[in-house]
């Protein structure tokens, strides 16, 4: 049974129909944290976040406090919030921007204060039309309420937040690509070094990029203290986290549960959460952290939902999305669709990613739809190896950003775990499930 006693840190208002309005937000403790933060020294606010050990919720899982302090050497100029949420089957930020936009805005103001920046941008994927409207409304309300703009709540801190719509490109979730998009360019990830936007970011100036969920945790942390947050979870994985559960489960959805204290099995099978597999079928495989992550088989269902725990087994918790495949799902088809996604979303800069993704996708298509050859299976592995040499985890790469080495994740996993299915596809001259 899942342990569900932890507080709902970011989804406490999920039962209110009007959770997105300022009035509801104020009624439920909104902007108290900001007022408190404004009485503290900025460094002290940052120290609380550091003490919370809040890991970034965007995918890379880098501690927010460390990101902020590391950058302290040169003052930060801009805060950019990553609301691009395009990793397939990830839909937690969608929940946050539509249902609790003020919480996000308050988090952004708190972070801006801690970093002493005066302009913040919330970059949100363009397909979130409603989310964009809700967050823009929240920003407008915050200005009217005195929580944004010149001399916030009478303090001597001023801040502007600009809501910036994306326009449909997965790669803009990658932080340097997002910065390019924010500069009005096509979303080509920037080459490293410099490794962090904190060194050279937006307009070449030090910039902090954080995920929507990361920001949404801040009001609670300021209200309750970093220690209270760190008391939840275990090890490096503290606090609660929003998990987006999708695929062949009875109750797909977004669930906020305590980290490490729960396992994949808890999330997928607990009747208060995923509720088990549709038609009570057998689970065949699951993806633990977005389609960029290598897959797990049922034998790892009891693995705790913790960043290091998952990494140890050769995958990642990534964006917090868990996709479940059952015995009725065709893994070759699933893999093909994932490679098609990467091929469509590769930005096109790096040769291995641009050409490799398309090539792999076409081979996968043949395997699924007829025309597959036995040698294709090893060809696939070798092409993957040319993008992520050695096919290790964490991956090595021949590309600029990690979209490239994400392509092999599912191909390599699927062939390793279900080579027989691939062979069957070749022998059957297409998908035996059809």
């Amino acid at each position: 049974m899942a342990s569900l006693d932890a507080p709902q840190i970011v989804s406490s208002r999920k039962d209110y129909a009007d959770s997105f309005t300022l009035s509801r937000y104020l009624e439920t403790g909104g902007y108290v944290a900001l007022k408190k933060a404004l009485t503290m020294f900025p460094e002290v606010v940052a120290a609380e976040v550091d003490a919370a050990s809040l890991l970034g919720r965007g995918g890379a899982g880098f501690p927010a406090g460390r990101k902020w302090s590391m950058l302290r050497k040169s003052p930060i100029s801009y805060l950019v919030v990553n609301g691009d949420e395009s990793e397939p089957a990830t839909f937690k930020d969608h929940y946050l921007v539509e249902r609790d936009p003020h919480q996000l805005v308050e988090g952004v103001i708190i972070a801006s204060y801690a970093l002493q920046v005066n302009q913040a941008f919330i970059f949100m994927r363009g397909e979130f039309a409603l989310g964009l409207e809700r967050v823009q409304q929240a920003v407008n309300d915050a200005y009217a309420h005195g929580a944004l703009g010149s001399k916030i709540f009478g303090s001597d801190f001023s801040l502007d937040i600009v809501v910036h719509p994306g326009a449909g490109a997965y790669i803009c979730g990658e932080e340097t690509s997002l910065i390019e998009a924010l500069e009005g360019k096509r979303g080509f990830p920037r080459i490293k070094p410099p490794f962090f936007p904190a060194v050279t970011g937006l307009y070449g100036e030090p910039t902090v990029v954080n995920n929507v969920e990361t920001m949404s945790n801040l009001p609670w942390i300021v209200n309750n203290g970093g220690a209270a947050f760190a008391a939840l979870g275990a090890g490096r994985s503290t606090g609660t986290r929003l998990f987006a559960l999708a695929g062949r489960v009875k109750n797909p959805g977004v669930y906020e549960i305590e980290m490490v204290k729960n396992t994949f099995r808890d999330l997928i099978y607990d009747p208060r959460l995923g509720g088990g597999i549709i038609d009570d079928k057998q689970i065949k495989a699951f993806i633990p952290g977005g389609v960029s992550a290598p897959w797990f088989g049922p034998e790892l269902l009891d693995l705790p939902l913790g960043q290091d725990e998952v990494a140890e087994k050769g995958s990642m918790l990534g964006s917090g999305s868990i996709v479940v495949m059952d015995e009725t799902s065709c893994v070759v088809r699933a893999t093909w669709r994932i490679t098609k996604f990467f091929s469509r979303e590769s930005c096109g800069q790096c040769t291995p990613c641009r050409e490799g993704s398309g090539w792999i996708e076409r081979v996968m298509y043949r395997l699924e739809n007829g025309g597959g050859r036995m040698e294709d299976i090893d060809l696939l592995l070798d092409l993957c190896d040319n993008i992520a040499p050695g096919l290790t985890w964490p991956p090595q790469q021949t590309t600029i950003c990690v979209l490239g080495p994400s392509i092999p994740s599912s191909v390599h996993s699927a062939i390793q775990m279900f080579r027989d299915d691939f062979v069957a596809h070749v022998e059957h001259g297409g998908c035996p499930h059809d």
């Binding site: 490109a169 096509r186 080459i191 091929s343 469509r344 979303e345 590769s346 930005c347 096109g348 800069q349 790096c350 040769t351 291995p352 641009r354 050409e355 490799g356 993704s357 398309g358 090539w359 076409r362 081979v363 043949r366 060809l379 092409l383 190896d385 040319n386 993008i387 040499p389 090595q396 790469q397 021949t398 590309t399 600029i400």
Partner: protein
């Protein structure tokens, strides 16, 4: 951390320790150490982007050896690099295989076949067998993205060199990537075709056959081509080029990377006007500028008819001898199209044989040569690195395109300042720190206001802040500042800009000057003494004064001068007041030495055919005074001769010996008698050296990476050197023969009377355009159609005030009567002025420029009326 005080760092490369410069790119350091790392997107003259991933090598990091792009990584002390491991080989082979996956196998019909880096690397490293059995990406075959460039999208390997060149180097992103992932393609906007004057560079640096040049397409196969290295003399920047021919037909010119000058870039005019040179257009009408003059001709019964060299020389000698019998009866005009050796020979002929001081290589469209000589000179490199550059020129992209690139680079890459005296539209404006709006007749006042704090006349819209900005950027003494000075307005008396230059030069003694005289070898011709008071070897003699071009034309009209020797070029195509020039020639005995036909020949009594660019050897001198060699690639058509030979033979007719028997020996004579570099440059195979004063600073030219400059096989073996000189005051033997012009010798800015601004008139700015109706363009089918018709460009304020829209015709009341011309909107035009392009024709093909010009006034004004 790299120690910046150290001059080298040590890097371990495949187990051996090499020295590298701190902060240098790994790919460069490795190459110098003899290890070539394969590459596609990297180009040594552009910022690295590391996208093709071909150059991956193993580099030690705290997390073990990782694959890193050598083109992007900068060396560190102690860095450990492996370029030949199995892992590196697999990664590089993988990238190559990926590149070929969608690349068509049409090498046999591809222009690039035979000189294609992708083909070369595939042959060197490729597995030979494809594992890609899918259908390749397909696009409709080549599309015309501009007048000159075709794009074959299937062949593109997305290295982004072309798009980066346009954005980063040219500053004009007319093409850009479009789409995403493997659907990415290079595209232009349907509303703005790719007509950048630098478009040919994208073709040259494209590592595959995706971008091809229309003029060259299918015209030759690389293995049929022979090449020499030479210097382009289409304008006076002096870009290094590889000139290629198939047999005796010029096929292609490519940019060679010269560190101090062009960095491998060329403008499209220099690159594509080949047809006008080798006379591929066959026409025997000497009045057509497109015709090559191949035989000597004399006028018989009103017609020019071919005769033998002997007969033509005799007749020329007779005309000139008769005229020289009266004092001041003969003179010479022109010379910018000559080599230094040719100019030197003709100078000896005019002064020595004809005993005339009336000689001028400019057409009244330049600057006082004495003034230029007295200025402390800057090199292009100095201007491209100067703390502040101040321009008193027309639009440099139109006048000296590669100088524009180098100055732009100074602003964009090095964040130095450009202060612009802005007379009209200018491509540098977008990167200039300050643009001071200057109307005709006001440059000297603005210069004074900067230098001495003088009052600005009423109506000038320069603010006190802008003036202070300019003063601050120039500084107290002008140290580290380069003034680029030219002739921004041909409708303005040249004394206006000369007075401005003088004011600035006197006020800022530490500043240097770069003259922007733009016509091919005009700088060399002046250095060889083809100007009143000048002497060969940049010498000066204040004791004599001769007539300049405009004075000679005047003298011809009045009958004081009887004959004129025209040295190359087309006089009528270059003077502003064509009618006055015609009247002068009408009266005169004209002997023309030229390689090209043209309207001027209608007045010639004798025409002597000369070899032109790419047909002759010798040296030329560019704007900064750099002397570099030109080489023949093809044999001149018919019986055209080198100028040295023509001058020497003509002297023989006078019973005199110039003492010049060959180009080599002429070069030797120049060097021996004046100390001016010539022979040493002609024979120098190694250095691309700069001679400033007497100090040689040799620097080796970049070796030619076939990847960076595909199509150029090697330049080391045929490489010819170049030198710049500033002032040479003694000859080789030490006895002083000439001296440099001194300030005291230069006529002071005598009063220029600028008429008051007339509120109802517009002042005319007659400016140069790259694409005009000059000889090069007229002979070039590729570029001819890109020359616009004569249009009056106006600011939108003035258009609104007149109530006309762009494209409409207006009635123009000019100094000589009225005419009709269309107007066009250009907000780069200064308020109260109208910009007109020199050497253009109206839609009916008529040259109406003279009707807009008031030769008797310092400035010209016109009134416009709606029809």
């Amino acid at each position: 951390m790299t120690d910046v005080t150290r001059t080298t760092v040590q890097v371990t490369l495949n187990g051996r320790v090499i020295e590298a410069k701190p902060g240098e790119l790994l790919i460069e350091a490795a190459e110098r150490a003899g290890t070539y790392v394969p590459r596609f997107c990297y180009h040594p003259r552009m910022e690295p982007v590391g996208v093709c991933r071909m150059c991956l090598v193993e580099v030690d990091s705290p997390r073990g050896a990782t694959l890193q792009p050598a083109c992007y990584l900068r060396v560190n002390d102690g860095m450990n690099v492996v370029t030949d491991s199995e892992k590196v080989k697999k990664a590089q082979d993988g990238v190559l295989e990926f590149l070929l996956a969608n690349h068509p196998l049409d090498c046999p019909i591809c222009d690039k076949g035979g000189e294609c880096p992708l083909q070369d690397q595939t042959l060197a490293h490729g597995s030979g067998e494809t594992r890609f059995i899918e259908e390749k990406r397909h696009f409709v075959k080549p599309i015309e993205i501009g007048e000159l460039v075709l794009l074959d999208r299937e062949r593109c390997i997305q290295c982004s060199r072309c798009t980066r060149f346009q954005a980063e180097v040219a500053g004009d992103a007319q093409i850009d990537f479009s789409g995403r992932g493997d659907l990415i393609e290079v595209a232009q906007s349907p509303t703005q075709p790719f007509d950048s004057v630098f478009s040919g560079n994208t073709v040259q640096i494209c590592p595959v056959g995706a971008l091809t040049a229309k003029p060259y397409r299918f015209s030759a196969r690389p293995w049929d081509l022979e090449q020499v290295e030479s210097t382009c003399t289409t304008c006076a920047v002096g870009c290094r080029v590889a000139v290629q021919s198939s047999g005796n037909r010029l096929t292609r010119v490519l940019g060679v990377d010269s560190d101090p000058v062009n960095h491998g870039w060329l403008c499209d005019k220099g690159r594509f006007t080949l047809d006008s040179i080798d006379g591929n257009i066959l026409s025997s009408d000497p009045l057509l500028a497109t015709s090559r003059i191949t035989e000597p001709m004399v006028r018989r019964d009103g017609e020019l008819v071919p005769v033998s060299w002997g007969e033509a020389l005799r007749e020329a000698a007779t005309l000139l001898r008769d005229a020289s019998a009266t004092p001041g009866g003969v003179g010479a005009i022109g010379g910018a199209a000559l080599t230094n050796e040719g100019a030197f020979a003709w100078e000896r002929f005019v002064r020595g044989v004809l005993s005339s001081e009336h000689v001028d290589a400019q057409y009244g469209d330049g600057l006082d040569a004495k003034l230029l000589q007295a200025l402390p000179k800057a090199t292009i490199e100095e201007a491209a690195n100067a703390r502040t550059v101040v321009t008193l020129t027309g639009d440099l992209r139109e006048e000296l395109p590669i100088l524009f690139l180098r100055l732009r680079e100074n602003a964009v890459k090095r964040h130095n300042s450009i202060v612009e005296f802005s007379f009209g539209p200018s491509a540098l404006r977008s990167v200039a720190r300050t643009s001071l709006v200057v109307r005709p007749g006001e440059a000297h006042i603005v210069a004074k206001a900067i230098a001495q704090g003088g009052e600005l006349p009423k109506g000038v819209v320069i603010s006190e802040d802008e003036l202070n900005d300019a003063r601050r950027l120039v500084g107290e003494s002008g140290e580290g500042v380069v003034f680029v000075v030219g002739r921004p307005n041909l409708a303005e008396d040249q004394r206006v800009i000369e007075a401005a230059i003088r004011t600035l030069a006197e006020r800022y003694p530490q500043a240097k000057f770069l003259p922007a005289l733009r016509r091919s070898n005009v700088n060399g011709a002046l250095d060889m003494g083809l100007s009143p008071s000048l002497r060969p070897g940049r010498g000066f003699d204040a004791s004599v004064t001769g007539r300049d071009t405009l004075a000679q034309l005047e003298a011809l009209r009045s009958g004081d001068q009887k004959a004129v020797l025209l040295l190359g070029g087309c006089l009528l195509g270059n003077v502003v007041d064509v009618e006055a020039a015609k009247a002068a020639l009408e009266n005169a005995d004209v002997v023309a030495v030229t390689g090209h036909g043209g309207a001027t020949l209608a007045y010639a009594k004798v025409v002597l055919p000369a070899a032109v660019q790419h047909e002759r050897s010798g040296t030329v001198t560019n704007i900064e005074g750099r002397v570099s060699a030109v080489s023949p690639k093809i044999v001149a058509p018919g019986s055209a001769w080198h100028d040295v030979a023509i001058a020497a033979e003509l002297a023989e007719e006078f019973g005199q010996n110039l003492g010049l028997i060959s180009v080599e020996q002429t070069a030797q004579t120049i060097e021996e008698t004046t100390g001016y570099p010539a022979l040493s440059v002609l024979n120098d195979e190694v250095y691309d050296g700069v001679v400033v004063g007497r100090h040689e600073v040799p620097s080796r030219r970049h070796s030619m990476d076939p990847m960076a400059f595909p199509g150029i096989r090697s330049t080391d073996s045929v490489g010819l050197g170049s030198r710049t000189g500033t002032t040479v005051v003694t000859n080789a033997t030490g006895d002083v023969t000439t001296s440099a012009a001194l300030w005291s010798d230069v006529a002071a800015g005598h009063g220029v009377d600028v008429p008051l601004a007339d509120a109802y008139s517009l002042r005319v700015v007659l400016s140069r355009r790259l694409y005009d109706r000059g000889i090069a363009m007229q002979g070039s089918p590729a570029l001819y159609n890109m020359v616009p018709a004569t249009v009056l460009h106006l600011n939108h304020f003035d258009l609104d005030r007149l109530g006309v829209a762009s494209g409409e015709y207006v009635k123009v009341n000019g100094p000589r009567g009225s005419l009709e011309l269309p107007v066009a909107l250009d907000d780069g035009v200064v308020r109260g002025t109208t910009n007109v392009a020199f050497a253009t024709r109206n839609v009916d093909g008529v040259n109406v420029i003279p009707d807009l010009i008031d030769s008797d006034s310092v400035i010209s004004q016109v009134r416009l009326e709606t029809r």
